[in-house]
Symmetry: C2
Subunit: 359 residues, 2 copies
DNA sequence: CTGCAGGATTGGAACGATCCACACAAAATG
DNA sequence: CATTTTGTGTGGATCGTTCCAATCCTGCAG
């Protein structure tokens, strides 16, 4: 191929391929391939020679060609939902970064995609969105654009999980299969109940007895799980929960109203909230009434969002171990993709409590 | 999409290929390919026949094969930095989603990657990190894993931009080439100076005259640009800026200390801050001193972060049009990749002001 | 009737990697 | 000594698509 020039091979405009390296090292293509994928098959000195050739040419295997032959993309798909403004659950950032990092260690990259149609209003009833979401998953699978998925939105009945499962598509869920406890797919989740119990224990230790719960609607599996943590811990300490609970949606405004109502009727000395968003709403009410959080009344949130970290006086909050969640997810994914046996279908991780000024 | 006939998705184990579709429609492979990529070449009735075959088989072209042949991956690489905890700049979420969305419209997906080494401490001196970052970019390019990059970290001299430019790699930057105004690469940025001027105008309208600036160090291009907005607007209104400015790093603590010092020495009635993080620090000080933000003293931040939206009483903040930034970036990227001429190398977008309780 | 432009369609040859079956040595086995 | 085993290395064939050049139509002018 290299016509004329004595050294050839360099700066000829084309990126080096396996064949280029093979010629340079005086071996066959297959041997170079083995040097990369199964080094143990080569004699040490041959391996060394090939590696030198690879280095000197600056060769990296072409992903597309490898993907075509191996029928794998080494990509993990993650759907990014519409951002809901005005809520504090910015857990995504932390999780995302950690997921990218652990994926890299396992030899994968993360591919982001969206379902296409932005649901016009509040994310609570996204029925039409779900079908387009499934279409997006389906398309990526059929075109072999990704090897597997990580799905994160398992709150309330999750059609995607069931659909993917039925289709035999590999995926790991961040979140339990609440509505179908016997679902076969692997999952990783954080034990919200225990997290809230930590919060209650902390408050009791600080001398609180009238601790109120500000949560989500009954239809939310996650919300009810966390609420269980509150009621179990309260009863464990011999405290009453009667009339100390409010439920609503995940908005500032609900938190604000719930705090008003509870303060007026029952005079709790502490609030445990299902989310930081709701907790921030409670803080709004305290500010309006001239009550100092942490001194007059304690507040605890859930998610350890950025808002909890920076808003004065600092919001005590239950922190999910998102880094570890990502690691576990990738581990399960890797097992699934290399057809190794998965001993336990789900892993439940324990959160911690970040104590700040609000308690 | 998949038609109702008995086969739909045929479960013969193998996914349908171009050849399968061609056989079904009674045409050649190439014709099917043309039906997908250059429909105008087909006679309408042939096109219709091919499309029906595609639908009935549930065919999607294999990405890897296409990528191999066209030498393109249709992926856009985005590096996700280490998350800095305790700062409010969670602009990433919004930008990311919007980027994914507009990429999709242009036929691209977003691939996330990380540079590999987590810098141990504050993101201010990431020198060793930069070389590994470049290695990551290089690897993705050589293996043709991505077609182009979006780079977002153009604060302070940015080695990646220069390196990518020199290498002839296509990319668009979110952020001006501060240190090299004549750099040839396309970029999109937000006019921070104008944003801060909006903030000052707003405060002046509210009757403030002693408006302080709490900013970043002189070495920060972005910080100084925003600061110019403050001083220009102040002078425009005939107000003095003397002794009303403080500079430090992007931390809660700096904001807190700067507010203390300024309040003691100069008694400003309003603070304009270079970031929401710093602004939150100022709010901490106000809370400590028993001053009510918005009533006793006004505070304005920058970024319209989630914390600004939810922390009581709501932090007035300059909001970057991240959705539009993403759209412009993808537009430029698309032009760059299809070798269309780019009329203007950079686009500067104007932010808006989100007014809340703190002013 | 022939020639011919042009649009519509086709089959072979890539793209660059890995899978597969086999060749050839040296070493272990009967 | 013949034969099997083991360790290394090889060249075709293949993954599913698009590029390329050639071929087949069809209608229209000469």
């Amino acid at each position: 191929m290299s016509r004329g020039s004595t050294n050839g091979l360099r700066h000829n405009g084309h990126a080096p391929t396996l064949a280029t390296v093979a010629r340079e090292a005086g071996v066959s293509r297959q041997t170079v391939s083995n040097a990369l994928n199964s080094p143990h098959l080569l004699r040490p000195e041959t391996l060394e020679r090939v590696r030198r050739a690879i280095d000197s040419l600056g060769y990296s295997p072409n992903r597309a060609a490898r993907n075509l032959r191996t029928r794998a993309s080494h990509l993990i798909g993650l759907r990014v939902d519409r951002v809901v403004e005005g809520t504090a659950n910015a857990t995504m950032d932390r999780f995302l970064h950690s997921l990218v990092e652990s994926s890299k260690d396992a030899g994968y990259h993360v591919l982001l995609f969206s379902s296409g149609v932005d649901a016009g209003n509040g994310a609570h009833d996204g029925r039409p969105d779900e079908t387009t979401a499934i279409a997006a998953y389906d398309d990526l699978l059929r075109s072999t654009a990704v090897d597997a998925f990580v799905i994160t939105d398992t709150y309330r009945g999750n059609p995607q999980a069931g659909w993917l499962d039925q289709r035999g598509a590999p995926f790991v869920a961040f979140g339990r299969p609440w509505d179908e406890p016997k679902a076969g797919h692997p999952w990783v989740d954080v034990d919200g109940r225990t997290g809230v119990m930590l919060a209650v224990d902390h408050l009791v230790e600080r001398g609180h007895e009238r601790i109120a719960w500000v949560g989500w609607q009954k239809s939310s599996f996650i919300g009810e799980d966390r609420r269980t943590g509150w009621s179990d811990a309260m009863h464990g300490h011999g405290l009453s929960t009667s009339r100390l609970s409010a439920r609503g949606d995940d908005t500032l405004d609900f938190g604000r109203r719930a705090a008003h109502a509870l303060l007026e009727a029952e005079r709790p000395t502490a609030f445990v909230c299902v989310s930081d968003t709701v907790a921030m709403g409670v803080l709004h009410t305290l500010a309006e009434l001239g009550l100092a959080p942490g001194r007059d009344i304690a507040v605890v949130g859930f998610d350890d969002s950025i808002a909890a970290q920076v808003a004065p006086p600092g919001l005590t909050s239950v922190r999910q171990p998102l880094e570890q969640v990502a690691v576990e997810i990738v581990a399960l994914l890797d097992k699934r993709l290399s057809h190794k046996p998965i001993d336990e279908p789900g892993r439940l991780l324990t959160p911690t409590l970040s104590v700040r000024g609000s308690s």
